[in-house]
């Protein structure tokens, strides 16, 4: 009895290939059943996210299973070209290690991202509900979840934000006592300012004011964020009551200068002010950051912090691998001592006993 994984990810395949290979979330169970019918796998699960497509399986014949799984991927997606070169294959020890690494986010585009664990859980649940998992994969996935949880809490692999928006939110939380009573002003609309404003909103920012040269766009974004839109000429009057400014206008020169800001800080009674300047060319004069109780971050600063956090996560990979090795060894021991039991369990099935999931396959 052996474990096998075949798949591709963001490193081995470009997005054009990945999108064609992706399985629909709703049809995942059905696809798993088709897979079991078409391959000599006793148990199987399909993991499909925007960055990876992988099949995990238990088989008694690695060579035949490998060929059949590759064929299945081509046929199921009705591919005309050959994707062989994008596929990787892992067996037994490597297969288990790979699943552990995937679950921990070590294999993700952004190292340590946590969304993947939820996606692996979904893949497992879909396979389980379709009756495609058994003694081996149930244990494998459950141990992978436990391992991922353990590694996440004992290492810094998930620490530190890795996107501009979430870095800005982290900083806001280190300046203000509670975001709930704070007002955010979005100056100029754009993808990045929208993402940052949303991140702040999700973390509980009190009220949001959106201001853009085009009133219509301001109103659309304000509706999305649950804030209010004001006309562009109004922003200086609203400014003293604002605690966080996200600026991304297309203005060629700085619109907020230290000279303008100094009297406003007096009006605010020196309450802290957080300025996030994601415009290029910059909207806020660099000298503003030197004023007392003003904290200014531009796009480069935020990106640099995000990069540092990614680098810090990458430094944690060694520690993660050491922990993964422990979990891996434990699973290998279990798998080794249960091989016989698995063989006995699936011996009948190999002889062609009628299987409930085959009936299911035919029905669908």
């Amino acid at each position: 009895m052996n474990l096998i994984t075949i798949g591709l990810n963001h490193r081995t395949a470009p997005v054009e290939v990945r999108e064609r290979m992706a399985f629909h979330r709703a049809a995942l169970g059905e696809a798993t059943c088709l897979l079991l019918g078409a391959t000599p796998l006793y148990e199987a699960a399909i993991l499909s996210t925007c960055n990876r497509v992988e099949i995990y399986g238990l088989t008694g014949d690695l060579v035949r299973a490998s060929a059949a799984m590759r064929r299945f991927l081509h046929e199921h997606h009705k591919l005309t070209e050959n994707v062989e070169s994008h596929l990787y294959e892992f067996r037994d020890r490597e297969c288990i290690q790979h699943l552990l690494e995937v679950a921990c986010g070590l294999d993700s585009m952004v190292v340590g991202e946590t969304e993947i664990l939820g996606q692996v859980k979904e893949a497992y649940l879909a396979a389980q509900q379709a009756g495609a998992t058994g003694m081996a994969l149930n244990r494998l996935f459950q141990k992978a979840f436990a391992g991922a949880k353990h590694i996440r809490t004992t290492t810094a692999i998930t620490r530190g934000s890795t996107s501009v928006g979430s870095v800005a939110v982290d900083l806001a939380e280190k300046i203000f006592r509670d975001l709930g009573s704070r007002t955010v002003m979005v100056l100029g609309t754009g993808e990045m300012s929208e993402a940052t404003a949303k991140a702040l909103r999700n973390r509980g920012a009190g009220s949001i004011i959106v201001c853009s040269r085009t009133q219509e766009r301001a109103e659309t974004l304000a509706n999305q964020l649950g804030g209010r839109a004001i006309s562009y000429s109004q922003w200086p009057t609203e400014f003293p009551g604002v605690d966080i400014v996200i600026s991304s206008t297309a203005a060629p020169h700085p619109i907020v200068t230290a000279e303008k800001l100094t009297p406003l800080m007096k009006l605010r009674r020196q309450r802290p002010l957080f300025l996030i300047d994601i415009a290029v060319p910059r909207d806020i004069e660099r000298a503003c950051g030197e004023l007392e109780n003003v904290y200014l971050y531009d796009i480069d600063d935020l990106q640099q912090i995000a990069q540092q956090n990614i680098a810090a996560r990458e430094r944690e990979i060694v520690a993660c691998r050491a922990l993964i090795a422990e979990h891996l060894d434990r699973f290998i021991v279990w798998f080794g001592s249960n091989r016989g039991a698995l063989e006995k369990r699936y011996a009948k099935r190999t002889r062609g006993a009628s299987l409930p999931r085959e009936a299911h396959t035919h029905a669908s």
């Binding site: 620490r159 900083l171 280190k174 300046i175 020196q270 950051g289 007392e292």
Partner: protein, 272 residues
Amino acid sequence: MSDRGYLWLALVFYAASCVLTVFRLRKSRLLPALQHLNSIAVIGGLTLHTVFLLLRGHHIGRCPLTNPFETTVFLAWGAVLFYLLIGPSYRVSFLGAFTAPLVLVISLVALLGLDDTRRPPPVQPIPWVVESHKPISLLACGAFGLACVVGGMYLMQERQLKTRRLTPAFLQMPPIEQLDVINFRLIVLGFGMLTVGMVGGMISYRIVGHWTTPKIVWAVAAWLIYALLLVARRMWSLRGRKIALLSMMSFAFVLVTFWGVSLLSSLHRGTP
């Protein structure tokens, strides 16, 4: 073991907390086990610290505030006590970790450099007003000491935010605005207690009929400094870094002059 032995033991606990702090500051991950260890170290230190004060008080038959050594140790004890009162209600991580070094330094100065001549127990019972005005004033200084610690934490976090260079521990430290608020509340508390202590001192003068001039000058100076700090914050909306810095400088000034004055008054006491 002499009562000073208990204090030395307390310092071992505080020193352990300092070592843990340095270790924690270099890690970016939350280490709950170390956090617990740190709490245990601080609470252990405070317990032994209290044992020392009780033994000493029992020995000399009054509040152990009769010489510069005792008063300094009492002041440090006040700072830890305020940490234990305030820490849990604000859930400020790292506050205990930063309090331990200050308490360690103050107590070391007391143990190594300050006069510890024991006074005989009083012949007559001392009226409670006379007896209590000193500990109240010193507890006020403990609050100022903790405000100084909070101010230091503020400066550390603020510097990182301003220079945009974030250390691994940045995310674990409390927000600067919260540190600012705690600093303010501690100073208000300390100021209130110092005021009460000074009124008590005035009443004591009426009862006892004599005073030690340097101590009164010191108390009035401390009172004025902190009054000015509060006015600066309220009236001139001085906030953040400046207030943090001022609260640290004020405490340093109060502490150093306190030692100077204690020295003076013990000389004063030495002459018949």
